[in-house]
Symmetry: C3
């Protein structure tokens, strides 16, 4: 029984083999400047790039950061100087060019089968009726997928996993490029990531776990999720976390190991909650939180401080009386 999940290894869109930047430049109608003979190995966003990657930038504020990042090839809307060994691909609209490349290498691949013929299901696993399993999905051993579950393309489910009915794994990210001068303001960022569910995870009914945009959405080994929990794109949940019903976690969040979130907690995007932290019910988390502590409130604060604050609020009439007497 081999573990088929690669832990915390971010998977962005890598090309199946290196692609000549000259071909890409022609494909997106870009003027190519700098190292015109190079090969690109993948494409990514600025905060995740590695050498060999393409990246795009369309705002002067980020030109320098992008050109000097690990990325080797920069799709950009202004000609500028380029470091040794790198190349610029100059186009009017870098975001559209980025989308065109992503959609070319990861095209919409509809499946008319309930279980795609490219999906792999391990031995001892049981798939109930009415489950949809998309292309290139891999499911480990001794895993149970209950009825009416949807698992979209490229997702990875480990061993000894349980997914209760009606849950959606690998739906598309809520992640848009906004320009208010267009008729339709919000343009979807194409998503190249997957959902990776590690071994021994149990997921309740009616949950939705979105696939990553530029890397993977990951649910760590042994984590338990109740019903109707939303997990946003590119979010990484650690091992042995406990997440109660109706919790919502936005995109690009990092929950370290052993975090407990009680019911209806909301977690905003791009933040980290430290190991073994506990967030009490209905709290709203808007920024990083340290581990090994309890938090409460919307906005969230240290649970004991919040408890004291609730007592102080009840004492306002008493304060008022004292003030009026003096």
């Amino acid at each position: 029984m081999q573990t088929i999940v690669h832990l915390h290894k971010f998977i962005y869109m890598q090309f199946s083999s290196p692609v000549a930047v000259s071909w890409i430049a022609e494909f997106i109608g870009a003027r190519l400047i700098g190292n015109t003979n190079a090969q690109a190995t993948g494409i990514n966003e600025i905060h995740k790039v590695e050498p060999g990657d393409l990246v795009f930038v369309d705002h002067p504020k980020y030109y320098d950061k992008c050109i000097n990042s690990a990325a080797s090839f920069i799709i950009i809307n202004k000609e500028t100087s380029v470091p040794e060994g790198k190349a610029l691909l100059v186009v009017d609209n870098p975001f559209d060019a980025y989308c065109k490349i992503v959609q070319h290498f990861r095209p919409f691949e509809p499946s008319s089968a309930m279980i795609s013929s490219t999906a792999i299901v391990g031995e001892g696993s049981f798939i109930y009726p009415n489950v949809f399993i998309g292309n290139h999905v891999r499911i480990g051993s001794n895993t149970i997928i209950y009825p009416n579950v949807t698992i979209m393309d490229h997702c990875i489910i480990g061993n000894n996993v349980v997914i209760q009915p009606g849950t959606v794994i690998g739906g598309s990210a809520f992640y848009y490029n906004t320009k208010k001068d267009r008729e339709v303001w919000y343009k979807k960022m194409p998503d190249c990531g997957r959902v990776v569910i590690e071994d021994d995870v149990e997921i309740g009914s009616g949950c939705t776990i979105d696939r990553g945009v530029s890397h993977d959405t990951i649910i760590g080994k042994g984590t338990r999720m109740d019903n109707m929990i939303h997990i946003g794109h590119d979010t990484v949940i650690g091992k042995n976390c406990l997440i109660a019903a109706q919790v919502g976690i936005a995109g690009v969040v990092n929950l370290e190991d052993g975090v407990t979130l009680w019911g209806q907690v909301g977690v905003s995007k791009t933040l980290t909650i430290g190991a073994n932290a506990t967030i009490l019910a209905q709290s709203g988390v808007g920024g990083d939180l340290k581990g090994n502590r309890a938090y409460f409130g919307s906005p969230v604060q240290d649970a004991r401080d919040k408890q004291k604050e609730l007592v102080w609020v009840k004492r306002i009439p008493e304060i008022w009386e004292k003030v009026m007497k003096k």
Copy 2:
């Protein structure tokens, strides 16, 4: 590629051809008074009626408003004077009579097919496996419906729409007539409306959009919805709105264009949120809000006012100390 969605045109229950009020009176066992030879063209609630419509009223407080509304025919539980050209249909229980008429003209029409033979799907659209499409549904062109989606009878989906897995379009409204002297207190209002999704809308996984009771539930062109969002009956969402995960919007709400609702916001019924307003996460909206401003809190207030209030609350111990010193 023709747009099949009629924007913001409320569709209540219109008869397929005019029906003699004398026939309706007999059908519901009513005494007919006034213009007994007239023809009814439809049926509606008091706040949406047009000439030719039937309407019902069972509380003396609303007799005058109803009789003097645009409606031509009033189902009522007391004989009273009736304006020229109108008619009264007098019965003991107007609500039961209203339900009997609605159910006659829009009977329960179960479908045993996954995709009803009366449904129309435009060219270039792709319907994944395990999708249920009810009677008389129309879906535009280049639209993608992901697995395990349910689209109930009479709903209209535009062009270039994306609906992620597990979402329910056109479920029945949560709308009851209450009388606590019955064994079963809550009696369902039959719903005659549809859900209309305009062009270029994207809807996340696990959402539920209820059909209208007396007109349509409408999602405006270009609006983007994240996962697990609930939209109540007869609610109208404007164009280019952005709605984050786990937001709940009750019935008969009006969101003007460009409104942004962050995660887990709750919006109460029969209110309007003005254009380009932003409601921060976990807020609770209980009344009308003006556009072009940000709001926060439960209950909601101006976001900057709320921010100041949060600071003041933290200063209560300091105030206490000052008071005790004096």
Copy 3:
């Protein structure tokens, strides 16, 4: 038309016929002390046991309570004195022994049929396409189950019930035994209960109602539930309750008759809300509440008190000014 639902009768796991405790002791590798010739009739948790039941205890704090409860047979990790007529089954790990017994008598019974051949559907009921109905499910008369609904094994649905699309009835409980010295911290308690939906209940789209662990999860006659409501294991909802969208109710909660919960309310576990109480939107209920009153806030309090508190908070700046002037 016979009512097939037994109201408020807790159903825990009863053996189909009495089982010799000597056989059970051998099956779990226990040393048997006391009344070794007795027959066990069922198995249950400490707060629900009846004479003839097996129960387990693994913490010295609860030894006495457990041994002196109504249970006749105690699975325990320490040899101690045992009352006349009872027996101890001594093992190193009572919880594992308990799970082994439950899983033996209620084994995982996967179904590959959309509607199990062991399910019973009453006359006049309509089951839409894409509905999964598990083993031993019973559905009454004149009930409508909409598309993409999942009803898991052993659940009971009454007469005149409506279940909107995408709802999950009888998913597994979120209920774990925690030990942080294991690689996987949380071990699932096997659940033996069912979901029982009484007559005349209407349930919205995308709800999840978990089955009981040791007795039944019950939705009382005439109760109305909106969309995306979560009901935890072993929770009992009274008659004619009204539950708005996105409410979450944890496990082992008791809602008495006529309770109203508005949108996004959260209710913590093992508490009671009294008859005809009303909880306003987004409130968080953490303890017992008396009936016939309205409540608001997170944490919840009397609605009028909360309303006054909200006014006092807005007066803090005024208090500050008065203090500074004196």
